[in-house]
Subunit: 105 residues, 3 copies
């Protein structure tokens, strides 16, 4: 399933929900797209552990390049393993069109 | 159709929209999942009438147990008729997988 | 695809994302529904250019009548070309039921 996060203050809650989902259904395939204001979550060194934990649990952690550019964040500042797409919105819609379930918190 | 509410300040607006939908389409089947910060709406005694009105109109009013635990809310404080699920996020995705339409306000 | 905007502070970001989507996929068919607090975006004269730009790019710009009434906004104050529906929530669900992809920012 695919989730998008657009607000910084919802990043931690969304990640927590994703882990709760994994607990309920360990076979769940989870992609989290960070865009708009929430893109800053991925470039903040204080979140390295949280991001690492997501990656290690098998989640697909995705950054929106349009949001990076808009917030003047160098994409080389993102951790290895974080996947970059041109447009977060396009990524969500593409996955939905492939049958992925979508939720926004 | 299934709606999720995650922000306290959107609870009343989301409920109002659900009633507007019922007005337009009295046959609509509506489930509202309260999770994250919005879980507090269901445990606030000041909202008893609003919750009762939803239940009496036939809406499925759902509380997320993970959110209850996280906010240290005793689930026995919820009104009769409010349904509890383990994970609000899982409930939304499950209904979507069954063909329910989804919206977030 | 169909997007809904419910918060004033997300209107500009949502519109920008819609244009980013168009840039990635010029054939995208885009409908943006403004409801709840975000309805005020469509009646603010300061947003005429932004609204005009959406309309000229072929986006379907939709206002929710329930939200207009709730905010006491005269629907005659909306720009020509903005389409009015009774309930924004119903509009989103109707399009989803017709197979449109949905996203909320």
């Amino acid at each position: 399933m695919i989730i998008n996060v657009t607000e910084m203050e919802k990043a931690n809650g969304t990640i927590k929900s994703a882990f709760n989902l994994l607990k309920d259904d360990p076979s769940a395939v989870i992609e989290i797209v960070f865009h708009a204001d929430a893109i800053g979550f991925l470039s903040d060194p204080g979140n390295r552990n949280a991001i690492l934990e997501m990656l290690e649990s098998g989640m697909d952690v995705v950054a929106c390049r349009n949001s990076l550019v808009s917030k003047r964040i160098d994409e080389r500042s993102l951790m290895d393993g974080v996947r970059i797409v041109n447009a977060g919105i396009y990524e969500v819609l593409k996955k939905e069109s492939e049958g992925w379930l979508y939720i926004k918190l």
